[in-house]
Subunit: 328 residues, 2 copies
């Protein structure tokens, strides 16, 4: 699969989103930050997953467009509020919503986005579908807030157990991919088993994706990723690699890593080089690849349980490969 295979889904979603954003034009200032953040260039991975998930069970995947818009709107709501909490000045290369519009509009329009996500969720659903979709979405939404809370709590802790880190990224990142992939199946009226397998698959993809992201920050090729190596190291982020190094390196390495974070940085390059040296000495590249492989295998196993055609499932296999930057 390459990017052009995503075009039918992307195009359908973009058209649907555009119609929705046009409605916002006459709706006043509450909708300006919403339109702004939803118009920033994005890969639309989550809504594409929802449409592909529907496509496992029926050809008219545009039926799932409202729920595709739910996951995208909800995701962007979390970005808008997280950017306030993280004091992040930019988002996708543009000023964050709270920088562009101010704190109050970013809070209030974010709230409105969360409600809009529910409005899209129930659009055109039967009462039976609705009574499955609303609790599913609500539980994921609440768990994502819990993930953000844990991420903020971790900042005040010197070291965090790897298991707690994995649990946090599961909540903060992975379960929304689980929801994106299962929601299309709910709309298509798939069996509970298939819905559950798609949810498991999406969660495993999300875990692999986050580990891959942590990996790329340390070992990625800046020319390929478009990001400078070591951003997480400079920002003292407790990534999988950093925590794994603390866990594997013994007391001495752990103390050095903590002390590197607690010391005022005069020479960022020297800090990055030293941390990467520690990572290499502990062979973390191999650990990362093994951990990612573990989740990728989980994702594929789960997808194999879905009751659909091999051809339809292949599209999702291919999307997973594309997301994780590898071709199986």
């Amino acid at each position: 699969m390459d990017l052009k295979d995503l075009i039918p889904y992307q195009r359908a979603f973009d058209q649907y989103l555009e119609t929705e954003l046009k409605r916002f034009d006459a709706a006043g200032p509450l909708y300006s930050p919403i339109k702004y953040i939803l118009s920033l260039p994005g890969k639309r991975i989550r809504p594409i997953m929802t449409l592909m998930s529907y496509h496992l069970f029926g050809n008219d995947f545009i039926t799932a467009l409202p729920q595709a818009l739910t996951v995208e709107t909800f995701h962007n709501f979390t970005l808008m509020h997280d950017d306030i909490m993280d004091a992040a000045p930019t988002r996708r290369g543009q000023p964050s919503a709270h920088i562009n519009f101010g704190l109050n509009p970013a809070i209030l329009s974010g709230d409105a986005m969360l409600i809009l996500a529910y409005q899209y969720l129930i659009r055109d659903l039967t009462p039976a579908q609705l009574s499955a979709a609303v609790p599913m979405f609500s539980q994921v939404a609440l768990d994502i807030c819990q993930g953000q809370q844990e991420d903020m709590d971790f900042e005040f802790q010197q070291v965090v157990p790897i298991a707690s880190y994995l649990d946090m990224i599961k909540k903060k990142t992975a379960i929304l991919l689980g929801l994106s992939l299962s929601m299309g199946a709910v709309v298509a009226g798939a069996s509970e088993e298939s819905i559950k397998s798609l949810n498991d698959c999406g969660i495993a993809v999300g875990m692999a994706f986050q580990i891959h992201d942590d990996y790329l920050d340390a070992f990625g090729n800046p020319k390929m990723t478009g990001k400078q190596t070591g951003g997480d190291i400079i920002n003292n982020k407790k990534t999988f690699l950093w925590l794994k190094a603390c866990a594997l390196g013994g007391v001495r390495v752990q103390q050095e890593l903590i002390s590197l974070n607690e010391t005022q940085i005069d020479n960022p390059k020297a800090k990055i080089d030293r941390v990467l040296e520690i990572y290499r000495s502990l062979d973390l590249e191999t650990h990362c690849i093994a951990q990612q492989h573990h989740y990728t295998t989980q994702a594929i196993d789960a997808l194999n349980l879905v009751e659909s055609t091999d051809e339809a499932k292949q599209r999702i296999f291919d999307l997973i490969s594309l997301l994780l930057g590898r071709n199986h």
Copy 2:
């Protein structure tokens, strides 16, 4: 009716809330600000309205407890986020959530409350009830965000037309009372006509209540209200009275009122006295009472259309009288 007639509803609600809050104890820091704000002493008017509304159609009003908790949780979510936006240091005599816990927890826990409100909303409902309740609640929630937006926009405008002010308070305050009163009827399986009439009744009560609140700030007895006269005047709030004075007083009075707001206050008492003098010269007390009477009549007319017993309706008439501080 006096306060003791509310006790059965209040007690049922408080017990239900307490059970819910106990679950939060083990749920970590995300739930601390939620527990805090929901534990502040409040009159619980909205959940009582939901229970009374159910009681119009069935005796087992505890059936509507989850939805009573929805309106109370949603209301407190708006308070938590509004207090950030208004930079309000206190709430019900205690530090606001963002003062007590910090900005980020107040944003994130507020978000979680909005999701919790949906979780309570759908609790124990049939698919058919759910498919009525979720869109109803979502629309009201979104309109309330719109009301808060308009209230914030008004701060940057010198004068606002009375019709715009009434439309804003309808969204910001009144429609949640409409929802509180109609939601119990939805849970009880009442007719669409009765649901609509209760919604109309609640909205009219909310309008009357807000006008009454504006009135008390200027003409209330501080010994009765527990609030200093003129708080709105000192805070330059565009209340019904202030806008009515601008509308009735002609260009000269309007300019004086604007100039009083734009001038640095050295002597708050002199400002209050002068504004009250203007209000009295325009007989605003009479205008307020007439406007409140208009809405109270609307509320009673709407309630009369509800298909229930006179005895059950009398409980709501009495609650309205109690709320508006008068005995009919």
